[in-house]
């Protein structure tokens, strides 16, 4: 009997199956099957038609003051999904300033952060000066004048004609200036609008030069947050805090607490932007100068405040660095004497792994008793791995890993002669086991059998990923290949991603290219056409490299460390070529479903939110070159017609919907990539109207509308006084405060709003398609002209205004979010839409 018992907890390991091929096989315990069908059927039954019910309460008023509406409207104006991209790229670039100067950040210990900060400050200093100078120029123009004297056109003209003669900045820095200019423009426009609307709307606003002066003060803290994002030191509750700012301003309830289950990194960039936009908006609405001053001070110190709160909640327990603990663990394994148990080393390592990877387990453990559970887990894990730890075993293990990975990884000579890779595989397995553990509750943790089952299941998967296949039972191997996962980069102590040691040789058939979807549901065929100018209607040969992001990694880091043709540190934007390896992609491209990981659509809505544990692939195609078209992406003019370096890859099709309940209008922006637009124009010019119609149908109906319907949470901006979060994805899943909950059972308010928005989007997209078709019948020349502009792609902008019925839905949402009581909704229907106003613009122009 292979028992490991401690503190009263006991589990017989031998009764469970291990993933290793050389262990005896035993029957698994039958699992109790959960039936999800009933749950979902129930949910849909309740949520399908939220309007069919009649709620007998009377109120048709509105919850917010006009100032509140204006505030939300400004927030929506300021929100720019591309701003997140710029922040991400900036974080990436700022990290480059120290990456090559640091060979071992773990060895630097406490000196690492100050060193990185110093490098970052040097990078940010000229940007800060330039941003301030930009704001000064705007301030100079608008101060002293009566803001109300400026028409919207005049303001647009002023900003359109602004020319800058600043020095040499990188493409992303230039884009940052463009975003700052845009934010300032939105503030000036809203300020002008408010002044025109008169004092009744907002009481009074501060002189615009004072507001802009204070906004200037927000730039430095904003850049500091970018640095913190780069070094993974942003407070993890930034996003809810940022949302809370709006809610406090709007007097909405701010009861959202972020559970430890939420990924801390998921919404960081959104959080930075949301927080910044809220402070910018509040500055415009600040009634007095001291209030404005208070806001800037508040923004400067918000991180510290959040950290203090987080530390207080965590009982001031500092989480040890997982990377450092991992290094110690590997060394401990190396130094084990013959016959010595690895359990103590695992016991030492587990707390760091649990804190970093499984805060959910942490909670359960803290209830039951930390040391007791850790000792128990460590005991089982020690039993599972102990036979691989002795030098005589670990060396061949390392040799096997090198053997299966030499061609893909290209190990250094010093690595090929020692056992480190073997110890690393063991450490990876333990670490990944913790990562794979399902959330545990107090009961599970108390039940040793149950806990062992959980652990074994997680271990099975972890071992199969990190040990060479011959060590793993055949049925558990996720791949047919003689390959395993190896932590990367090899020459760095901190591993940021893993690489699969087999490179697949595949042929992408046209059918596959149009079926496999990538980020935001975009077909692979579009990606290949847009990014490389390839023709996916013909079979394409490719080598597929497979990666997995590590705990402290970002997708862009893979591009920094790989040395493949097209995917290397010298190739700008190389990382945008990494695509999500979903089960679908793994099945159709690699013919190995087990290599894929099913991803939540929200997490693959954009590549800027890639999360640890997700898998990606890179297609190495002979002759394929990532195109970075020479287009001015900086969104501002340069003196002497100077063109800043382009810096952004050719874009693919995209869509955005803006549902503005305050203005009772809906906007839908269809972005045609340059390739898509070219395909349409080419057919129009050849009088191939049927072909053009087919291309339009393919772009609008098959790709863009589908993208919208499958990404309602991320692609629809909602402008509503009760939804300052702007996007469904930002509304916490666990919000309990919605009032209809008691009426319609377990369906949350978010789900009802989501259903409502989905219905609206479904209807509007059908209407939009018809409008686009009619547009091409009558005004295709405009599209041709836009496509002939040197910009990248064309946006068709549709706007429905004064939509009747929107006000009722607005009230319903207010009621759902607890601001009002529901009125009689028996007559509530989804509005019908007349023909929209349609405009065409070159480039990607989202609102």
């Amino acid at each position: 009997m292979n028992n490991y018992s401690t503190n009263g907890m006991e589990a017989g390991l031998a009764q469970f199956e291990t993933p290793f091929a050389d262990m005896p096989l035993r029957k698994e315990q039958p699992e109790e099957k959960m039936t999800a069908e009933g749950f979902f059927a129930d949910l849909f039954q309740q949520a399908e038609s939220p309007f069919s019910r009649t709620y007998e309460t009377a109120s048709n008023g509105q919850a917010l003051s006009p100032a509140g509406e204006e505030y939300v409207d400004l927030l929506a104006e300021l929100n720019d999904p591309e701003f997140n991209e710029v922040l991400y790229e900036m974080a990436d670039e700022v990290e480059d300033t120290w990456r090559n100067k640091v060979s071992n950040e773990l060895a630097m210990g406490n000196n690492y952060i100050p060193f990185a900060t110093k490098q970052a400050r040097d990078y940010f200093a000229p940007m800060l000066r330039e941003s301030e100078s930009i704001i000064d120029r705007v301030t100079q123009h608008f101060s002293g004048n009566n803001l109300g004297d400026h028409s919207e056109t005049q303001i647009d003209q002023f900003f359109d004609n602004l020319e800058f003669n600043h020095g040499q900045y990188s493409p992303v820095q230039e884009q940052f200036f463009g975003k700052i200019i845009n934010s300032v423009k939105k503030v000036v426009k809203k300020g002008t609008d408010l002044v025109k609307k008169g004092i009744s709307v907002v009481g009074k606003i501060l002189p615009i030069d004072l507001v802009l002066g204070k906004i200037k003060g927000l730039i430095k803290p904003l850049l500091d947050k970018v640095l913190k994002f780069a070094i993974a030191k942003l407070p993890k509750n930034l996003q809810p805090h940022a949302q809370g700012l709006a809610k406090k301003y709007l007097n909405l309830e701010t009861t959202e607490a972020v559970s430890d289950e939420a990924s801390p990194t998921e919404n960081e960039l959104d959080g930075i932007q949301t927080e910044f936009n809220n402070y910018v908006a509040q500055l415009l609405f600040a009634p007095t100068e001291p209030d404005a001053q208070h806001l800037t001070v508040d923004y400067e110190s918000s991180d510290e405040t959040l950290e203090r709160t987080a530390n207080y909640e965590a009982g001031y327990v500092q989480a040890p660095s997982l990377d450092a603990a991992r290094e110690v663990f590997i060394n401990d394994l190396k130094n084990l004497q013959a016959g010595e148990s690895p359990a103590p080393a695992i016991e030492k390592f587990l707390p760091a792994a649990i804190l970093a990877l499984q805060p959910a387990i942490k909670i359960a453990i803290s209830i039951v008793g930390r040391q007791k559970v850790i000792n128990f887990l460590a005991g089982i894990l020690a039993n599972l791995i102990s036979k691989y730890v002795p030098a005589a075993v670990v060396k061949p293990l390392a040799a096997n890993i090198i053997d299966v990975g030499m061609s893909a990884i290209g190990f250094e000579v010093h690595e090929t002669n020692n056992a480190d890779l073997g110890y690393e595989a063991i450490a990876n397995t333990i670490q990944e086991t913790m990562q794979n553990m399902q959330p545990l509750n107090e009961t599970t943790v108390n039940d040793s059998q149950e806990l062992t089952m959980h652990l074994l299941q997680a271990f099975e998967q972890a071992a199969a990923n990190n040990f060479p296949p011959q060590y793993i039972r055949e049925e558990l191997r996720p791949t047919k290949q003689r390959a395993t996962w190896v932590a990367m980069p090899r020459n760095q102590p901190v591993k940021v991603y893993k690489k699969f040691t087999h490179v697949y040789d595949i042929t992408i058939e046209p059918q596959t290219a149009s079926t496999v979807t990538t980020f935001r549901n975009l077909p692979l065929a579009n990606f290949l056409r847009d990014k490389y100018g390839l023709d996916p209607s013909k079979p394409l040969k490719a080598k597929v490299h497979v990666y997995e992001i590590g705990r402290s990694g970002r997708l862009s880091m893979i591009g920094k460390w790989e040395k493949l043709p097209g995917l290397n540190a010298q190739q700008p934007k190389s990382w945008v070529q990494l695509l999500p390896l979903t089960t679908q992609a793994a099945t159709l491209l690699l013919k190995e479903p087990g290599m894929g990981k099913e991803a939540d659509p929200k997490k693959i809505a954009t590549r800027f939110k890639a999360l640890p544990g997700q898998r990606y692939y890179y297609l190495e195609i002979e002759g394929a070159r990532l195109r970075i078209p020479p287009v001015n992406r900086s969104k501002h003019k340069h003196a002497d017609n100077k063109q800043p370096a382009p810096g952004i890859e050719s874009r693919s099709a995209d869509i955005q919907a803006v549902i503005n309940f305050i203005k009772s209008e809906i906007k839908l922006n269809y972005y045609f990539s340059e390739e898509d637009a070219k395909a349409v124009v080419e057919k129009l010019n050849s009088n191939d109207f049927l072909g053009a119609a087919m291309s339009i149908r393919q772009s609008v109906k098959t790709v863009l509308n589908d993208m919208l319907l499958k990404n309602v949470h991320t692609k629809v901006k909602i402008v509503h006084e009760a939804i300052p979060e702007l996007y469904l994805e930002h509304i916490g899943d666990q919000q309990q405060q919605f009032s209809p909950r008691d009426i319609i059972g377990s369906v949350t308010g978010k789900e009802i709003i989501a259903k409502l928005i989905e219905k609206l989007v479904e209807k509007i997209s059908g209407n939009a398609y018809e409008a686009v078709v009619n547009f091409f019948k009558a005004r295709s020349t405009e599209f041709k002209q836009a496509q002939a502009q040197p910009q990248d792609g064309v946006t068709i902008k549709l706007a429905w205004t004064k939509i009747t019925g929107m006000a009722t839905i607005r009230t319903v949402i207010n009621a759902i979010r607890g601001n009002l009581s529901l009125g009689n909704l028996s007559d509530l229907t989804i509005p019908s839409f007349s023909a929209p106003e349609l405009t065409i613009e070159a480039d990607k122009r989202f609102d």
């Binding site: 002979e622 070159r625 970075i628 020479p630 080419e682």
Partner: protein, 418 residues
């Protein structure tokens, strides 16, 4: 004894000299400006650095070995061997320097971001022209580094050939002449050389010309057979760029009459007079009547064979009558090199006929020259189109040159910098 010491010292000093020189040469940053390095494709940069390193390492290894040999040399006989070694070392250094210098001059021609982009555009055009043929035949396309130099004609240092120092070049270096920078169809002629080298077409073509022009005098077949390598390159330029290549070639070879009719026995180039007419015949066979007829008329008027007295007139006249058959072999005959297909079946010259180019312009509209998608996809046909219009010599020629410059620069800027 004193003599031995002085010889030793002299030899040791020389070894040190070449050792120091090689060490200096190994600092690639000293060889070309950072801007120039940045202007070339990353992969080419990596390959060239590796190649330079290999050349220099060979010299350093020889120098170090010689140093050790000298340190252990006591006898006169060993010193004599060392003397020979120093001579070898000197030669090896100079050859390595020659190889490296060639490429660094090429790299350094990328003087400004604009010129670099233009040349990267040329690199892309070159690679694209070869890929179209080589990829279906499962042959790898070598990277291309184009550079600007003076002179009338373009040239190539092919990938896969031995360099001065004995190492094999892995990058094709193609010279673009200053005067043809904005209608560089000649670079496609040069990639034709590279393609023919990779596919061994020259030999096959030479044999076909020698054996199959049977209804002409034997000297005709023999002559064309000797010119096969240049004819192959012309044919390649023609299938990719049509009349543009023909007009550009005409302008390049239209020198003094004696040069146009001159025959040099070991020159792989056909007699210029014949070469122009052969290219015009290609147009005629694939496109029928067209502006090349006017070009021929003007050419024949300028270079009137009846008015010239050169020894080659007889051969020229015989060859002129064989041109239709020659073009037939060149473009329509199947070759093993192309997988038993003809060159014109693999790359269709019709795609760059005036009619198709006009259709392209009409299909794309003004976006043809501004849209990165069009430029990327149709860069070779854009080269053909621009060259065709310039070849016609009508309209706003400065604007046409400007247009060429602009789209080529856009093409170059569309890919990563080093």
């Amino acid at each position: 004894m004193a003599t031995t010491i002085s010889i030793y010292n002299s030899l040791m000093r020389q070894v040190n000299h070449w050792l120091m020189a090689a060490s200096k040469l190994s600092v690639v940053e000293h060889l070309a400006s950072p801007q120039a390095w940045q202007g070339i494709d990353h992969q080419i940069g990596v390959m060239l650095r590796e190649s330079f390193k290999k050349s220099i390492d060979d010299v350093l290894a020889q120098a170090t070995s010689l140093q050790r040999q000298l340190e252990n040399a006591g006898e006169q006989a060993s010193l004599s061997a060392a003397k020979r070694g120093v001579q070898d070392l000197r030669n090896r250094y100079l050859k390595a320097e020659e190889s490296i210098h060639f490429y660094t001059v090429a790299i350094n021609s990328r003087t400004t971001p604009g010129i670099s982009a233009l040349l990267r555009g040329c690199d892309i055009l070159c690679v694209r022209s070869m890929q179209e043929l080589l990829k279906p035949l499962a042959k790898a396309t070598p990277p291309v580094l184009t550079y600007i130099d003076k002179g009338v004609g373009a040239s190539i240092l092919k990938a896969g050939l031995r360099l001065w120092d004995g190492n094999v070049s892995n990058v094709a270096a193609i010279k673009v002449t200053q005067h043809n920078l904005y209608r560089p169809t000649a670079i496609i002629h040069e990639t034709g050389h590279q393609m023919a080298h990779i596919l061994n077409w020259n030999e096959e073509l030479s044999a076909a010309l020698n054996n199959e022009l049977t209804n002409h005098a034997p000297m005709v077949g023999e002559a064309f057979s000797r010119w096969s390598s240049e004819m192959a390159a012309d044919a390649f330029a023609f299938v990719h760029t049509g009349f543009a290549a023909v007009a550009a070639l005409h302008d390049v070879v239209s020198g003094m009459p004696h040069a146009v009719f001159a025959y040099h026995q070991h020159d792989p180039h056909p007699i210029s007079y014949l070469r122009v007419l052969m290219n015009i015949e290609m147009c005629r066979q694939f496109y029928g009547a067209g502006p090349w007829d006017d070009l021929e008329e003007a050419f024949k008027d300028t270079y009137d064979i009846n008015m010239i007295a050169v020894p080659s007139v007889g051969l020229i006249n015989l060859c002129v009558s064989a041109l239709p058959d020659v073009v037939n072999i060149l473009l329509k005959r199947k070759f093993r090199a192309f997988g038993e297909r003809s060159l014109s079946a693999v790359i269709l010259p019709e795609r760059v006929s005036p009619r198709e180019l006009e259709k392209l312009e009409q299909q794309a509209g003004p976006a043809l020259y501004t849209s990165h998608a069009w430029i990327w996809k149709e860069c070779l046909r854009l080269l053909a189109l621009g060259g065709y219009k310039i070849g016609l010599g009508k309209g706003d020629l400065p604007a046409l040159y400007k247009q060429q410059e602009e789209w080529m620069t856009k093409l170059g800027f569309a890919v990563e910098l080093n």
